[in-house]
Structure formats: structure tokens, C-alpha cells
Symmetry: D3
């Protein structure tokens, strides 16, 4: 970690790019095969390796558990749309001031929702974003789970049901908020840096 810190350059010394993590970043070919394969797969699809993959691979068992959890919640079929799930990630990651997750999942949200403005709106103040009433109720609950889950009550559940959410969808909202409570803290622990690519992805209107 020392070397990485020594090269953390201030903005007015642009020659040295800042490190992407406080912790050592493994070389791709030194990784276990399953992790390397997963990383090559995402690289194939995205055109680059999102930094969360290569930095979290510093701890292979935690890498595997994290992405298993992620896939179970973010990739499964049915229930919330993929865009709605990303809205939850952006809203709660903004509440936690997580640099990596707001920027990277903001990009994914722009792409999934085909709304180039929505991610920035949700990141700054979801209360004032271009949301449907269902989406607004969804984010109210997600942010409550993120910030004061001990106040979640039966009456919150009833409200969401009246808004048309199924019990499975309510679990998903809470569980995505909970997973990114973990993810945001890990990214902040590592000072995880988003790839430059994320900042511009999906900004052109469809």
C-alpha cells in the first residue's frame, strides 16, 4: 500500500494517475481461474474491466461471495425492472457518498432506463427527480432501509403493498439497499476509483 500512496498525485500533477484502490491490485493472470474468467467475461461485454472487479479480487473468497449476492439480486428475472434496481443503487449509494457506486451505477442506470438525465437527478436529490409515483415510493423505502432500517415498520410494508408492490419486490428493494450498504462501505474503505469510461456512458439521448 505504501507505493500506491506515494503515487497518489494531486490534481495539479497530472503525470501520475491516482491509484484505483488503497489496497494492492492483483495482476489478472495471478488470479484463480473462475475469477479471471468472470473478469474476462465482463471485459468482453463492457469493453473494459470495471475497477470493482479487479480490486475486490484482492480477496478471492469475498469476491465470489459478493458477486454471487450481486447476481442473485441484480440479474434475476421478474419483479423490479433492471432500471428500477439501478435507481435503488444510485439513490442509496448517493446517501452513502460512495464515489464508485454513484458513478458506475449511474452509467448503468442511464443505459438501462434509456433516460440520460435520470441518474444525475437521483444522485443529487431523488425527491426532485423525474420519477413515477411507484418509483418514488420504491426509493423512499430504499433510502429508509439504507439510513434507518431499525425504523422499518409493518405500516411501511402496507404502504408499499397499496402502491402495488408485491412482497417479493419489497424484499428486493430492501435487499438491494442492504447489499449496497455493504458495497458502498467496501468501496469507501478501498477508496475505489471509478473507471473514466463510466462518466460518459449512456449520456447521448436515445
Amino acid at each position: 500500500m505504501k507505493a500506491a500512496h506515494a503515487t497518489r498525485a494531486p490534481a495539479d500533477a497530472p503525470a501520475a494517475p491516482p491509484p484505483i484502490s488503497r489496497y494492492p491490485v492483483p495482476a489478472l493472470d495471478a488470479l484463480p481461474a473462475d475469477i479471471r474468467d468472470r473478469i474476462l467475461e465482463v471485459q468482453e461485454k463492457a469493453g473494459f474491466v470495471p475497477n470493482v472487479f479487479i480490486t475486490l479480487a484482492h480477496r478471492p473468497d469475498e469476491f465470489r461471495a459478493f458477486f454471487a449476492y450481486h447476481d442473485a439480486l441484480m440479474l434475476k428475472d421478474g419483479g423490479l425492472t433492471k432500471a428500477e434496481r439501478e435507481m435503488i443503487v444510485v439513490a442509496t449509494s448517493s446517501a452513502n457518498h460512495c464515489h464508485y457506486c454513484v458513478i458506475a451505477h449511474g452509467a448503468i442506470l442511464r443505459i438501462r432506463a434509456k433516460q440520460p438525465l435520470l441518474a444525475d437527478q437521483v444522485a443529487v436529490n431523488y425527491l426532485n427527480a423525474d420519477l413515477t409515483p411507484r418509483q418514488r415510493a420504491m426509493l423512499d423505502f430504499a433510502v429508509k432501509v439504507a439510513e434507518r432500517s431499525h425504523e422499518v415498520s409493518d405500516s411501511d410494508i402496507e404502504t408499499l403493498r397499496r402502491d402495488g408492490m408485491t412482497d417479493d419486490e419489497i424484499w428486493d428493494i430492501g435487499a438491494i439497499a442492504a447489499l449496497f450498504a455493504l458495497s458502498n462501505r467496501m468501496a469507501n474503505l478501498m477508496a475505489l476509483r471509478p473507471n473514466d469510461e463510466f462518466y460518459t456512458m449512456g449520456r447521448a439521448p436515445k
Copy 2:
């Protein structure tokens, strides 16, 4: 205001664009000449009329006072660079969750600083942005003025002086934070909507 509210469409009804303010938006040619001239001048320069101009013109005297204050702090020569002043705006407007100011001044910051990533970094968590030590000290003080100005002490001033700030620059940091404390609250009162153009300005690296 009723009509405006009636057309505030949810995101899944894209035909009707949301209003840019909770309050009536004046027609350009109904405005006093000095205000109309100022608006035409900014339109000439930017290629569009930033919404804060036309919406704040609902109150001509407040429009004049606001932009006089703005120009005194943001356009004057010497001291803080123009990019530094915009960093203060973005950091404090993010602390206040002001949709308009984060998006619009984020765009201006990208252009002024010639760093396409910096505005989003500062908006999410300035503690983790690509800043020089001087910029970091500047934003620490600006956010303190924004959030708990009653705790500003002589020792804060001494710290900034040791970081190389002049007394005039220290005033400027505090005054810009103070002006956008006003601006953010007015924008949130109006539910002021940023122009779509701001979201993409200055994103291409130089």
C-alpha cells in the same frame, strides 16, 4: 402555478415535458429591458438560456440583486481561480442537494477546470476527489460555512492562512458558500429544473 402543476408529468408519460419552475415563467419580451438584455447576452454566449435566468426574472428586483451578487463574487479578477470558485459551488450545492446548481455549475466546473471528471467527484464526495491540498482545505472551509457556520473560529482562519490563503480569498470562499446557501434554497423553493444541455457540457477530455 396550477397549470404548471397539471403538466408535471411522471417519467413514463414523456410527451409532456415537466415545468422548469413551480412559479410562473415570464415571457422574454415582457421583461424589463435590462433583464432582457442580460438574458440575451447569456443566450448569445452559452447558446441557450440557463433556466435560472428566466425563472428568477419572475421577480425583477431579486433577479437584479442576485446577479449583482453573483457577478461580484464569481466574475471578479484575482484571488481564487474561476475553477476553484465553481468547486465551492458544486461542493456546497451538493451538501444542500440542489438539483439545479449541482448540474449547471458542474458543467461550468468541467469547462473552467478542464478536468471532465472533477465535478461528479466533488458532487458525490469531495473528500475523495482529485484535489490539491489547497483545494481540499478550501472545500473543507466552504462546506463548514455551508453546514455549520456558527462553528467557524479564529483557528479555522489561521489554518487557511497557513495553507497559503489570503484574507481576501478566505472571505471569497465563505461568501461564495453563503451566496449559494441562498441560491440553493431559491432553486429548491422553485423546484428549478436544469436545462438538458448542462448534463453533457464539458465531458469530452481536453
Copy 3:
């Protein structure tokens, strides 16, 4: 500023009066004519020069913009009464722990409202002050704008309308809270000291 600090005497060394600002205080006859005239005018009327005038004159352009904004909101005819406007100033300045504004505008409130107890009540806890229901709703909204303007919603506006406020009055409440968000931060930045006269003005019952 060094000299001013050197004379900031502790309370048990009463010989040296504390400075009225952290920043240099200009001599009246060194000021631009319009500012000097404004100051002489207020001195004529009040019998003394309120410290905010002479200290803010350190920056003539900001002085002009601030008082233009102030006059547009605090002196205009119609809408909120002058006493109501001062209640907003005292309630929000107390939320911001602004020494100058609570003491000085507390005095003005006592005079405008002809209620010698109201200013102190509003400063300590407006929730428990001698207010009409309309005044209470007004201060609830003003304090919301002061403390969490990003949560202002259409339903807040509707509530105020039902309480009999016009849309123009609602703007005024929010705008006064916004202007003193600026003013409180400037006063705290300067460590602006209220004139001794303010503490006793208007205390005799009418």
C-alpha cells in the same frame, strides 16, 4: 486582521472592547458616496450605525447587492406584514445560531410587532411562542427552507395555500429564509458583533 485579533479581549479585561468584525472595518469617509449616503441615512433614522452596514462595506459591490436584495424582500409593500418578515428572520437566524441577526432583528421584531416578548420566544423555540396559526405555519415553512430545502414539496405549498397564503407570500417566506441563509453565514464568517443598542430596543411594552 492581525490588529483586530490582538484586541479581542476576554470578558474579564473590559478595558479593550472586542472588534466588531474579523475583517478590517472601513472609515466612513473612505467609502463610495452611495454607500456612505446609505449609512448616513440609516444612522439618521436609527440613531446609530448598525454594524452590518459598516462591516459589509469592506466589500462595496457585495454591500450594494446585499442591501438591494434585502430591500426587495423586507421593505416592499403588500403581502406579509413587516413584523411577519422579521419573525422569519429571527426564527431562521436562530436555527443558524447567528449572533448578529438574532439580536438585531430581534430588536426590529419587537418594534414592528409591538410585542416585547415575541422575539426572545421565537429565538429560543418558535414551536412554543405566542403565534397565530398562520404565523406558526409560516415559520414551519421558513425553518424547513432554512434547514432542509431539498425536502420542500408540492404538498408543502398546498398546505400553505390552505392556510390562506398566496403564492407570492409563499415565495416571500422562502426567499427571506434564503436571504438570511446568506446573511447568517456572512455574519458568522465575520464574527459580526451586534451593536449594544439592539439588546434593549423595543423591550418596553406599548
Copy 4:
């Protein structure tokens, strides 16, 4: 309590004075002799009966215990001056937004300290009041006990000792903050109204 509520008049209906407590206020001659004597004694000395006496007498046993505690801390000889003790009351009662205690003990502080401005300064923002370094350290600790006593640490105690406080004085600071934590909550529970006399007592400079 119903009757009292019925007469709680808004400010614009001055004929009916607001009640001094949410709870029934006993008649002086219906009180136990020791309590009546105490009240007559304070009336003799102050020229009026401070409302906390007559309202708390609704519960005689609590009255006795409260004033026994009060006298043990506020009236005993040695250690903190009487003015310093009142500074602690005003600073912590302001943190708790207690109408009665800020107004009534503000008056007593003015008289004890022979500084007509100090009480209002401490009530608005003690960080910016005319205090000696010892008084400032005293109030920092008192407000910590009032707001987050679970964070009091051995190093706080060491700091106060270095500032010249004895262990007995440190106990007194904490204990006065603790007693008014109780007192403020009882006053807020009762919506206890300060006597009008307190607002003006001690305002003339000595």
C-alpha cells in the same frame, strides 16, 4: 387541563393571557406549608413568584426534590462563581430549546455577571460570546454533557484540569448540565411560560 387549553389564545387575541402550564396550577394557600413558605420567600426576594415554583408545586414531592437538588448545586459556596453556574444553565437550556430556562436564567445571569449582554450571547451561540478561556472550556464541557454525555472521556477531564478546574468544579459543571437536562424537559413537558418580568431584568448596564 381542558380549561387551560381553551384559554390558550393566539397572539392576535391579547385579551386572554396564555396559561403558564399545560397542567393545573395550584392555589398558593392549598399548598403544604413548607412549599408555601418557600414560595413566599422567593416572592419576597424577587418581587414576584417565578412560574416554575407554582407550577411544579402541582407535584409536592417532586417540587421538594427538585429544589433540594437545585439548591445543592446552585447556591452552595465555593468553586464556580454563581455567574458561571448560570452560564452553564443558559448554554445547556438553549441547546435544549427550553423557553422558561433560557429566559428566566438569562435574567439571573445578567444580574449575577453584571454583564447585560452576556446572556443573549450565550443563548444564541456561546462559541461567539464574550467569555474568558476558562468560561469557554467550562461551556464546551457542559454542552457535551448536555448533548452527548456518553462521549465524555478521561481526556476531557484532563483537559479541564489543565485549564485549572478542580475535580469538584468539573463535577459541578457536569451536574448542573445534568440537573437542567431534567429541568428543561419538565418545562417543555408543561409548556412552562416564563414570567414577563424576566425579559427585562438586569438589562441596564452597571
Copy 5:
């Protein structure tokens, strides 16, 4: 106090038991007779001397006032049950992170309520504890008095009345919360250590 601090041993040096207070602990036979008698009485009943008695006896007058207040609220007949009073103590002491009061009154609550699980539930999150609706309303009000008593309003009182509370019971809820606001701060000031006995008392189900 110096000696006590010197022997405050870390957990990995178990030979030296930690002190029970930051302040000197008086010897029983050096105490005034009335205090010694009270302590012997509680020792007779409980089988040990709860540390709050012997440590608070460092200040005899405050000891007498505190226990007079305590007995007036916690031992009187009628109104709230003794178990309900202890619930208020545990819920508000947990909000104040008071080590002594949560552990000691948790034990008393287990015994009074004959519910061995309730005290730990209330200490962690009373919103999720095994409470009747009446008990839940009681704790909502108690915690409001503990944390933001300045927001207590006539409508809170009305709500409790509708839940079946008498005005006297409402006073008791608020007064117990107020007394332990004092008690928690004194315990945190002293770093008062609970007796080991309290941790296990009343845990066997009845």
C-alpha cells in the same frame, strides 16, 4: 481521582478490577447516618450495594435529592405499573448510551415485568420489542421527551389521552424520562460501572 485512573486496567490485565467511578468512592462508615441507613437498607433487600448509591454518596446533598426524586416517581402507588416505569428508564437510558442505567434497570425490568427478554429488546430497539400498543405509545413519548422535548406539543398529549393515558400518567412518563436524563448524564460523568450482579438477574424465565 489519580489513583483510580492509574488502576483502570485494560481487559487483558484482569488482576486489577476497574474502578466503579471516576470520582472518590466514600467508605460506608464515613457517611452521614441517613445515607448509610438507606444504603444498608438496599443492601439488605438486594443482597449487594448497587454502585449508584455508594458513588453518588460522594455528594451527600445531591444523593438525598436524587433519591427523593427517584422515590417520588418510581415507588409511588397507582398509575403506571412498576414494570412500565422501568421500560421508560431502559428505553431512554439506551437512547443516552448510559452503561449503568441500561444494565441495572434492565435487571429490574426483567424482575418487575417477569419477562426475561424484554429489557434487552427495549435496549436495542424498542420499536421492535414485545410491547402492547399502550406500552409502545408510552415509549414513543418518553423517547421524544428524552431526545427532543422542545417538540412536545398539545397534539402529543391528545394522542396519549386517546390511547387511554391519564394526565397524571402522561406527567409520570415525561418526568421519568426527565429524571433519567439527569441520571444518565451523572452516570456518564462518573463513568459509573454497574455491579456484575445486574447482568444476570432475572434472566431465568418464570
Copy 6:
């Protein structure tokens, strides 16, 4: 979920035991073999099935990911002791007011640390618990990650290194705080009830 709610009995109707989750609880023999085996294994070892296993099995994929993450951090050899890891869980779960995790991991901490008092101390106020300086520094960092991870800085890392923590241990502290950020939110979402057994485990001194 309806049925479960209908049987959530208040404390004064003890006949009906409250549900252990807001969500349906699967029957053991309806579960996938790997999950059933894991549950039988823990039952064999503990003598009962901790409720988190059977309730989280409602979502098999999330169950697998959660326990894979748990085992990677809580069961691996080297670095932090098992007792230290449980201290982190109890301190951060208490900050999140998570009923299940404080009670269940409090029991495990008592057993691992062979200190029957430590868990309750850490749950109420870790700042005042019987900790070594290393443990105190560990919990300071863990709670910072739990509550404001965006403020984690290089200087926090340096402080922990000076206290003798390795970089791998620092990761572990942060990662355990992050995992229980997730776990606490899921438990609060489900209103997960701890097994009665946990309340008394490990209370007898060794």
C-alpha cells in the same frame, strides 16, 4: 405474510408466540440439500437452529451468498481473533439498532471472549467498555465504517497501523462492519427475531 402478522401478539397475550420473520419461513425439508445440510450442521453444533438461517433460506441464492461472505470473514484463520470479530459485529449492529445481531452475536462474543460482561457493555456504549487500547481503536474504525464510511481517510489507516494493525486486519475490520451493514438491514427488513436461547448463553463467568 398476512397470517404471520395476524398472530403477532402483544406482550400481554403470551399464548401466541410472535413470528420470527415478516416473511414466510420455509420448512426444513423443503429446502435445497446444501442449505438443509448447513442448517443441520449448525443445529448439531449449537443445539438449536439460529433464526437467521431458517428465515434467510426463504431466498436460497441469497442464503448461499450471505454465508459464503460470512464464513470468509468470520471463520478464516489468522489476523483478528474470533472474539475481536464478534466485538465488531456487536458494536456496529448496536449502532444500527439490529435486534437479532446484537442479541445473537452478543451471545457468541460472550463465549468467544470468555468475558460474560463485555457484550452488553459494547452494545450500550463501546466507548466505556472493558477494552484494550487495540480493541478500542479497532471499534472506533469499525463504527466509522458503519456510520460514515465516506469520511474514511488515509490518516485513519495510518493511525491503525501505528496501533499495530496490519493492512489485512484493517481490511477485515472494515469488511466485517460492511457485511453487518448488510446483515443488520436484512434483519430489520424481516423484523428477524432472535432465538430465546441467545439471551442467556455464555453469561456464567468462566
